[in-house]
């Protein structure tokens, strides 16, 4: 059913010696078949073209990236474990402009710290990824060491429950592989994962919101 067409093609190119071939078109059955196949091919190509055109005409967004809407996040902790990457692409972000620079930071300290110092026994962060720096009495500055952060959201929970919410989780776009469907988004109980334009891939809080 198929050989003749390609034979002609191949034969011409290969320059093979002449050979007796069933001549296409001599059999009415074959003719009808070929016509059907050509028709189906035409319909198929037209269908593919039409749906591609239909979808492309809707193209109104630049490519998107996954991001967490910090207002929806409930800090369930799945960001740390559900990402396809060994170490999650989600990490904590700190908007300094919103931070109260508290001495007793509920994002930094255990619920009942023994002392307000940097001892491991007082720290909430399991990887010690938050740096605490004295600025002026009674203010301390907190900053995230991104390499150490594993996105567990413990500090975020602390900060959002009792503080200003200046700590929040964001998908770090240098690490995110932008899966077609984000594995964390499937597990996120709060539907906090949204697709944002790649040109503005962060959903920052406070004054950082307006940052390009």
């Amino acid at each position: 059913m198929t050989a003749p067409e390609s034979n002609q093609n191949q034969g011409a190119e290969a320059g093979s010696p002449a050979r007796p071939l069933p001549v296409p078109g001599t059999s009415p059955l074959f003719n009808r078949r070929a016509l059907l196949i050509t028709g189906a091919r035409g319909i198929g190509l037209a269908g593919i073209g039409a749906s591609a055109g239909f979808l492309a005409s809707r193209e109104n967004q630049s490519t998107t990236r996954w991001q967490i809407d910090p207002d929806k996040c409930i800090q369930c902790g799945r960001c740390a474990t559900a990402c396809v990457l060994e170490v999650s692409a989600v990490k904590c972000t700190h908007s300094y402009g919103m931070c109260g620079y508290c001495k007793l930071c509920t994002g930094y300290f255990e619920p009942e710290p023994v002392n307000l110092d940097e001892g491991a026994e007082n720290q909430l962060c399991p990887t010690g990824a938050i740096q605490r720096k004295f600025i002026e009495d009674p203010y301390y500055e907190y900053s995230i060491t991104k390499d150490l952060c594993i996105g567990c959201g413990k500090c975020v929970k602390g900060c959002n429950m009792f503080g200003n919410g200046s700590l929040y989780l964001q998908v770090n776009q240098d690490r995110c592989v932008n899966c077609n469907i984000c594995a964390i988004s499937r597990e996120c109980p709060a539907q906090a994962f949204v697709q944002v334009p790649a040109a503005q891939p962060y959903l920052l809080r406070g004054k950082d919101k307006q940052r390009p």
């Binding site: 050509t38 189906a40 749906s51 200003n164 690490r175 077609n180 406070g206």
Partner: protein, 425 residues
């Protein structure tokens, strides 16, 4: 109603420092590996190369080199994403949901290989798809899968495709991406079960030709259909077959059909009649049964959609079964931020009917495909020669070199091998 304190309500007012400037909030810049149009350009070039290599050059070496390049670029460099297989889902969602914009790159990845398959066959599978390449390169000792098992397993991609379309078009899940066995290897990070599936499939592909492509890949199923209607396609013999049987075992993918004796006379007429009767019976019956089943599957799949999950959880809770439902965080989050019950239930109802209708249609189409397959199996096409099954042929170019005519055509010194053989010279 939203009970969350409005943002910007600062419990502790940020201090006004005199001597300290606030550090800039730092977020890492986007790391995009290559731009979309480059991927499309590489795809188009690779498709052209694959078609040219398998149809014109008829060169296995060329195809191997191309598939290595594709594996490196689309696989390990692009980490398996964008891929044509997954693009099915984006396109399905795009067609079903007018609010969803499918990126142009994804549209190109879906349409180009299909369009090429309609003209030149499955060159995409041969040399462009990293999934195919990684399996094909591993193939050491192909075992022949018996026809009955092969045909049985070939149903799986259609089931997979139907489910993928159902879940994608309703915006629930992208199962093709979720259960992709090789993407974990490409990006060198994956959950354990994903790695294990991938490794198992790779191990299997050393002895069974392309197990994923043949028995799982939903895009392969589509390409197979398209390829049946292609204009130019690879055939073993460059000109004509002498039935030397040298190519009998050449295809590791079962795409070479042995000659099928034709029926003659009255037998042929009866067979034709029986075929028509069978089709008339089995087509509507199968479509009805699977359409009905599809509708039921659709309804049952409702909790796979986040909104459906929320609604069913809300219902379960109202009926006092909340304790039996583990992810109660969904309900917590719903209470914190979500809409009221009415909206949730209303959404779920719309979703349910969408699931039902879609499931019904997809089931019916699956039933039709199954019926056509059965009819093809019961009444196989007759042929006098070894013919290529173009739905299965992935244009890997393995078989060409087994044909003595091809060797002659290429000018391979056949003297030693063919001389002295009684070949009717």
């Amino acid at each position: 109603m939203c009970l969350v304190p409005a943002l910007g309500v600062e419990r502790f007012p940020p201090p006004d420092f005199t001597g300290h400037t606030l550090p800039e909030t730092w977020v890492p810049a986007l790391d995009s590996r290559g731009v979309g149009w480059l991927d499309v350009a590489v795809l188009a070039a690779a498709l052209a190369a694959a078609s040219w290599l398998s149809l014109k050059r008829r060169s296995r070496h060329g195809v191997v080199v191309l598939s290595l390049v594709s594996l490196a670029y689309f696989g390990f460099w692009k980490r398996g994403c964008v891929c044509a297989i997954g693009s099915i889902q984006n396109v399905a969602l795009g067609l079903a949901d007018p609010g969803y914009a499918v990126p142009l790159t994804v549209i190109a990845f879906f349409t180009l290989p299909l369009a090429v398959a309609l003209v030149w066959g499955r060159g995409f599978c041969a040399g462009v798809c990293p999934h195919g390449a990684i399996q094909d390169l591993l193939l050491i000792k192909p075992l022949k899968v018996p026809a009955w098992l092969d045909e049985m397993l070939r149903i799986v991609p259609w089931v997979y495709l139907a489910l993928a379309l159902l879940f994608a078009a309703t915006g629930s899940l992208f199962i093709i991406c979720q259960f992709d066995p090789f993407v974990g290897i490409f990006r060198m990070a994956a959950p354990r079960c994903m790695f294990l599936t991938g490794a198992a499939l790779l191990l299997l592909s050393m002895f069974v030709g392309r197990p994923y492509c043949r028995y799982l890949c939903p895009y392969g199923a589509l390409l197979g259909v398209a390829s049946r209607f292609s204009k130019w396609r690879p055939t073993v013999t460059p000109d004509t077959c002498t039935q030397c049987r040298l190519c009998e075992n050449a295809c590791p993918f079962g795409a070479l059909n042995p000659p099928m004796p034709a029926l003659h006379g009255p037998e042929r007429v009866t067979s034709g009649r029986r075929r028509v009767v069978m089709l008339a019976l089995i087509l509507p019956l199968s479509a009805l049964i699977f359409g009905w089943l599809g509708g039921r599957v659709g309804i049952a799949s409702l909790p796979l959609h986040p909104d459906g999950q929320l609604a069913t959880l809300v219902l379960a809770e109202e009926r006092g079964a909340a304790a039996a439902v583990p992810p109660s965080e969904v309900l917590t989050a719903f209470r914190q931020h979500g809409a009221d019950r009415t909206t949730v239930i209303a959404k779920a109802k719309v979703l349910e009917s969408r699931f039902f209708l879609l499931g019904r249609w997809l089931g019916a189409v699956f039933g039709l495909i199954l019926a056509l397959k059965l009819s093809r199996l019961c009444f196989p096409m007759s042929s006098t020669d070894y013919t290529t099954d173009h739905g299965r042929c992935v244009s890997c170019a393995r078989c060409f070199s087994t044909c003595p005519y091809e060797l002659v055509r290429r000018g391979v010194p056949m003297a030693a091998s063919t001389e002295g053989r009684d070949r009717g010279e």
